[in-house]
């Protein structure tokens, strides 16, 4: 009996997990900025003006985002300046109801693919594959700042061949800064602030 219960519990946990993640409960990419709006919206605004949005929604956003600590004098100033932005914020929180989740995820995926291909192109332009590259692959962990500049590169999984690993590191060093990566802050933070580059010749 005890074993059956354990099995049931594990299976229930997995299923609930799968169902929840499929239904996007854990996703916080509900924001769909419209094309012309690419400036990041500071998360602390939401915190300071809770009356503008419903409480429940504010909570989820605060939980997932890093709250930037900021002195009170600064805050009041920013709040004044940002009245316009708050309106957009309202808009953006309401978007899911209008667009429907599927559509948003699709456009989110498209954007990730678009920016990924920009990165891919810029690396391929400078990567000089060494001769010893058959069946080798190396994974690099890349850290970016929002301007596209490469902050840090680390070997996450080596190919075992020094020359091959080095060729990948050199390609990244040559790029130094990825061009045309201007994107919404949320998209950047969730996907491009840190990502894996896999060098794998076919």
């Amino acid at each position: 009996m005890q074993n059956l219960f354990a099995g049931f519990f594990v299976s229930a946990l997995i299923h609930v997990g799968i169902v929840l993640s499929l239904s996007n409960v854990f996703s916080i990419d509900l924001l769909d900025f419209n094309n012309d709006y690419s400036q990041p919206i500071p998360a602390y605004l939401i915190f300071e003006k809770p009356n503008l949005v419903s409480k429940k929604k504010v909570k989820t956003i605060i939980k997932k985002d890093t709250v930037v600590s900021i002195s009170k004098t600064d805050l009041s100033e920013i709040v004044l300046k940002a009245d316009q932005e708050i309106l957009v914020l309202e808009d953006m929180i309401n978007t899911p109801a209008i667009l429907g989740e599927k559509e948003i995820n699709a456009s989110q995926q498209d954007r990730i693919l678009f920016f990924s291909s920009l990165i891919e192109d810029q690396i391929q332009e400078v990567w000089k594959k060494p001769i010893a590259s058959q069946e080798l692959s190396v994974e690099l962990m890349i850290s970016l700042v929002p301007t596209g500049e490469i902050l840090d590169v680390n070997i996450k999984r080596s190919s075992g061949n020094d020359a091959f690993d080095r060729s990948a590191l050199i390609a990244v060093a040559k790029v130094n800064k990825f061009e045309n990566l201007a994107m919404p802050a949320q998209l950047f933070n969730n996907n491009f602030r840190q990502f894996t580059l896999v060098f794998k010749p076919n």
């Binding site: 099995g7 060494p130 990502f195 894996t196 580059l197």
Partner: protein, 434 residues
């Protein structure tokens, strides 16, 4: 306790859905531009006048297979010899990927020189290799090849082959000439004779330590396999069997020679045990089995057989004796050789009546034709697997020449050879360990 593990496990699965969602970008292609190297002429700090310039040797070496473009000293903006003197910006402007600097120094040993050099990664401003090597001042060229090998290894990740040699048979052009087994550096230098005979010499093959050569000689009127030591010139014959004795191939461990004997009535593959000088039969078929070659791990051999009616390549497992046909395309596939990784083979392939050298991936069966000359024969692979040398006819003069092609088919060259009768090339293993 069991429940505890199960819960932990399920939590891990649960979390993995998050870890998996991290962005991965795959890079599969790169630029086709060759890697750009600059070698600053080494600072010469000794009294003797240099007999040659090392940077010139290295430039010629690195450019010979089309993988590198090497900057000439005339195009350099500065000539640093120490790391501290390097202005990386200058070299980046010249689009240099790797910079080599160093000096030639006096040695405590008379007649020797020391060479200190560094390989610098220009884009990351890093010293990736520092070395101090020494050698005779008379063999500066050898030292140059050695430096080229090290640079090649560091940048390309596979060994360089500039210190390797090629054995070949020089066939008589006119009636009075004799057959000459010769060995040359791959740049055509140091060509010297190992064995002369007025009867045919065939199929030289290097032992895996590079110290001995096995070959077939008809000096006694019939074919017989000999082993010759390179340092002393001493020769010994293998135990002769009735009929054909041909196509020797060393096992990677150096204990056996695979060869072809026809004592059973038709040619079959046999193994010769070099320790107790006995023959053991490997294949037994009424067709012709010939031209064996050992796989690099010593576990199997490939050979040519006409058992299906036309010459095709077969592979035999040396322990289970199981035979597998490897080639199905065309009606002539022969003289196969393994690549050093054991995953591909090359052989002579006839397409539309013309003999080409083909590369065949064993896993996928994919074939690519590497050469566009005609009458190509007896291919031999460089020990790093990146270049193939073969015998062919010069298009204009019709003379026998040795030609080479890189494994990607992009770079082709003709090996400079003294006379016009070069046949049966055999590429040595890596000789200078570094």
């Amino acid at each position: 306790m069991k429940i505890f593990y199960k819960i932990t496990f399920s939590t891990l699965i649960f979390l993995s859905t998050y870890i998996y969602s991290e962005l991965r970008i795959e890079i599969t292609g790169g630029t086709n531009e060759p890697i750009r190297v600059a070698m600053v002429p080494l600072e010469w700090t000794i009294n003797t006048v240099p007999s040659l310039y090392l940077h010139e040797v290295v430039k010629k070496d690195l450019e010979s297979f089309g993988e590198f473009s090497v900057l000439s000293p005339e195009d350099m903006l500065s000539y640093p010899t120490l790391e501290g003197e390097v202005s990386y910006r200058d070299w980046r402007l010249l689009k240099v990927d790797y910079l080599i600097i160093g000096s030639v120094l006096e040695s405590e040993v008379i007649g020797e020189v020391k060479i200190a050099y560094s390989i610098l990664d220009v884009s990351r401003q890093k010293n990736i290799h520092k070395a101090l090597i020494s050698g005779s001042i008379k063999s500066l060229k050898r030292i140059g090849h050695n430096i080229s090998d090290r640079i090649y290894q560091k940048i390309n990740g596979i060994p360089g082959i500039f210190s390797t040699r090629i054995a070949y048979v020089d066939k008589p052009v006119s009636g009075d000439d004799s057959y000459n087994l010769r060995i040359t550096d791959i740049d055509g230098d140091g060509d010297s004779s190992l064995f002369l005979s007025n009867q045919p010499i065939l199929s030289p093959d290097w032992s895996s330590d590079g110290k001995q050569l096995a070959y077939v000689s008809f000096e006694e009127g019939t074919s017989r396999i000999y082993i010759q030591e390179l340092s002393t010139g001493n020769r010994r014959a293998l135990k002769h069997e009735r009929g054909i004795n041909s196509s020797p191939s060393w096992s990677p461990d150096g204990n056996y020679l695979a060869a072809v004997l026809s004592k059973g009535g038709n040619p079959d593959i046999y193994l010769y045990n070099l320790r107790n000088n006995t023959w053991k039969q490997l294949t037994d078929h009424y067709g012709i089995d010939t031209e064996p070659d050992w796989s690099p791990n010593g576990k199997s051999l490939i050979f040519t057989s006409n058992r299906s009616g036309s010459p095709q390549i077969y592979e035999i497992n040396a322990s289970t004796m199981r035979i597998k046909r490897r080639t199905f395309e065309g009606t002539y596939n022969a003289r196969a050789r393994y690549l050093p990784d054991g995953k591909s083979i090359i052989y002579v392939h006839r397409r539309k009546g013309i003999f080409h050298i083909a590369l065949h991936k064993l896993k996928t069966g994919r074939i690519s034709i590497l050469t566009d000359t005609f009458l190509d024969e007896s291919p031999s692979v460089s020990p790093n697997g990146n270049v193939i040398i073969y015998a062919t006819k010069d298009r204009n003069t019709g003379a026998d020449v040795l030609a080479g092609v890189s494994i990607n088919g992009k770079t082709k060259f003709i090996l400079p050879s003294a006379s016009g009768g070069a046949r049966e090339p055999a590429w040595s293993p890596i000789l200078d360990k570094y």
